[in-house]
């Protein structure tokens, strides 16, 4: 997929959205929605999905919507918290199973999620990340309760091995009756459509964004020698094994070359071994886990940003690095080629040899002064991806979704049986019926009328914006809600 320059280089495919042009973005939304973002991944966990949810929610709140976030409890952080602008976060006490993803039985989260959906008067449930089982649970329950659903996929998957076959089947089941799906790049859309056997009409592409004001270049922080920066989690998916091959080769060839590696993970040990084996302690710095606010200070110290990912749907890291004025060298995988125009990025095959060549070429250019200055790169990149843009596009999706009808139970069962194969379809149809019965049981135990409506913190009628002396809700984020 070729790169496009300019502001609207990622067009929305579905008919009502393709008419969106930058000029109409400034208009205010006609109606306000109550949106519930659900994902297993949220702060204090760090990563692309987390910041995506946070930034999107903040922008939606500024546009007048009411947004809440539902995630699972992180250690002692459980209960209800408020973030900036009254963004309410529910940290539900659910058991974490693997990799911050909750264990699911498909039913056990229904009582709590139903309580939240009812008390917050949610109209749109927006789930994030296909790794998150809480997100899929929420989709399932929201459909049972007759709410509108949107799903954002942040990652790519294979098709070949057993685990991905299973995950893809589950994704098919989960997405076949979801109203709308958002992907972060065209590659991701292709991947998702194929995996979940979806109608491409209901899949939109809305890229991630970075806050360009957070990532400004500062060339005086650079040292005389050439520095290559790597910031990523140190896991297999991010191609750390490739990095281990690259470091000794380049360090032997160029005496004035340094590496700065930020991030933490299970693969850190092999990096340390490489460093010890080739005695590169003074040239390879391992910084360990970085906080998001420190990333910029690390990035501006380097000349070249190296990304060795083996699979990537969008890759925020290279946008952040480019915004800091670094030259990017990256593997040509997933949605990466769509992200930046060709003059800002050097794409290589995911192999040690190809990456070394790419880096050498860049170093040569750097030494000859053929590269654009950091300020230039920053000025180009900062127009590409902004959160307000993302929020406006997402809003369009919500409006589209709300104009549709939610499938009734028998339509939903038909869809499940016809879409997901006979065995799986019937099985999940049965589960959907059971879930519906469970919901009816819960409604009998605690009718909706018994559930207190939550005091609105955000949105046009929010209590957050008014400041009267003895306001009814005074517990701001200094206060910790406890779970009893």
């Amino acid at each position: 997929m070729a790169c496009r320059g300019g502001g609207d280089h990622v067009k929305l495919p579905s008919p009502p959205l393709s008419s969106v042009n930058p000029g109409s973005f400034a208009t205010c939304p006609t109606s306000f929605h109550n949106i519930c973002m659900v994902s297993d991944f949220f702060y204090p966990n760090m990563g692309g999905v987390e910041s995506h949810i946070y930034q999107l929610s903040q922008c939606l709140i500024q546009r007048g919507h009411k947004v809440i976030i539902v995630t699972h409890a992180y250690e002692d952080r459980k209960g209800i918290r408020y973030l900036t602008n009254g963004l309410k976060v529910y940290y539900l006490p659910l058991k974490v199973m693997y990799n911050q993803s909750t264990a699911t039985t498909l039913f056990h989260s229904l009582p709590l999620l139903r309580y939240i959906f009812v008390r917050e008067r949610v109209t749109v449930v927006h789930s994030h990340s296909s790794f998150s089982s809480l997100a899929h649970d929420a989709l399932f329950h929201a459909k049972t309760m007759g709410l509108h659903t949107v799903f954002t996929d942040h990652s790519l998957f294979g098709f070949a091995d057993v685990s991905s076959v299973l995950t893809n089947k589950l994704l098919t089941v989960s997405l076949c009756d979801t109203n709308h799906i958002i992907c972060v790049s065209y590659t991701s859309k292709e991947n998702t459509v194929l995996r979940a056997a979806l109608n491409p009409e209901i899949v939109s592409v809305i890229p991630n964004a970075v806050d360009p004001t957070d990532f400004t270049p500062d060339p005086c922080k650079r040292h005389g020698s050439i520095t290559i920066v790597v910031v990523s989690r140190l896991v297999y998916r991010k191609g750390i094994d490739l990095l281990c091959g690259i470091i000794p080769k380049l360090c032997q060839k160029y005496q004035n070359l340094n590496f700065i590696i930020g991030g933490e993970g299970p693969k850190r040990i092999i990096l340390e071994e490489v460093r010890e084996k080739y005695e590169l302690h003074d040239r390879v710095r391992l910084l360990g886990a970085l906080e998001h606010k420190d990333v910029r200070d690390v990035l501006v110290q380097g000349h070249i940003f190296l990304n060795t990912s083996l699979t990537e749907a969008f890759c925020m890291a290279i946008v952040e690095a480019a915004s800091c004025g670094l030259q990017i060298v990256s593997t040509r995988v997933g949605g990466i080629p769509e992200v930046l125009p060709e003059n800002l990025i050097v794409l290589c095959e995911p192999s040690v040899k190809s990456l070394c060549e790419g880096l050498e070429k860049t170093i040569l250019q750097l030494n000859s002064g053929a590269l654009p200055t950091p300020e230039n790169i920053h000025n180009i990149v900062k127009t590409f991806y902004t959160w307000t843009n993302v929020a406006q596009r997402t809003e369009k999706v919500y409006e589209l979704v709300l104009s549709e009808d939610v499938l009734s139970l028998n339509e939903r069962l038909d869809r499940l049986i016809s879409h997901c194969g006979s065995v799986t379809g019937h099985m999940f149809a049965l589960l959907a019926v059971l879930n519906y019965l469970f919901l009816i049981f819960l409604r009998w135990i605690i009718p909706d009328s018994l559930i207190d409506i939550a005091v609105d913190a955000t949105g046009p009628r929010g209590a957050w914006t008014h400041h009267y002396p003895h306001s009814e809700k005074r517990d701001d984020n200094e206060k910790v809600s406890e779970t009893r």
């Binding site: 209960g79 309580y115 939240i116 207190d452 409506i453 003895h470 517990d475 206060k479 910790v480």
Partner: protein, 188 residues
Amino acid sequence: MEDERIFSDICGGRLALQRRYYSSFCREFCVSCPRLSLRSLTSVTCTVWLVAYGLFTLCENSTILSAAIFITVLGLLGYLHFVKIDQETLLIIDSLGIQMTSSYASGKENTTFIEMDKVKDIVINEAIYMQKVIYYLCILLKDPREPQKISQVVPVFQSAKPRLDCLIEVYKSCQEVLAHQKATTTRS
């Protein structure tokens, strides 16, 4: 001045909120649950005895029957004395303190008194409780070393768990007293 209003708790049960205004600076709020109903008592007792009788017919050991009677009586006593709270009272006296009393069905009373200079504020907070998200009234205590910080959160009406409308009533009255307290403290 005294009045009584009917509210409901988070499970839909009936709650009576009595407000007694002794003077402008001394107010009492009393949340009372319905007493133990004869019907539920009878049904529980009958179930236990039926189970015991079933076991008795199976193994023909008469100690089971006496044990069942013993268990029911002990269970009832324990329930009345340690579990069932009939009434919860919040007494707020300006410049003196806040007193919380919970009276058990057996007549046992549990009282906590918090001096006013330890109280930072009274707020309504949210919490996840069982499979519900509920509002509750709580008293924030000052940290003795750093007056701006909160050292402890003391929940009020812990067993009755009234709904938000009831809590707002109590909250507003309490805030009036607290505001009066704050005004006079700053003045003098």
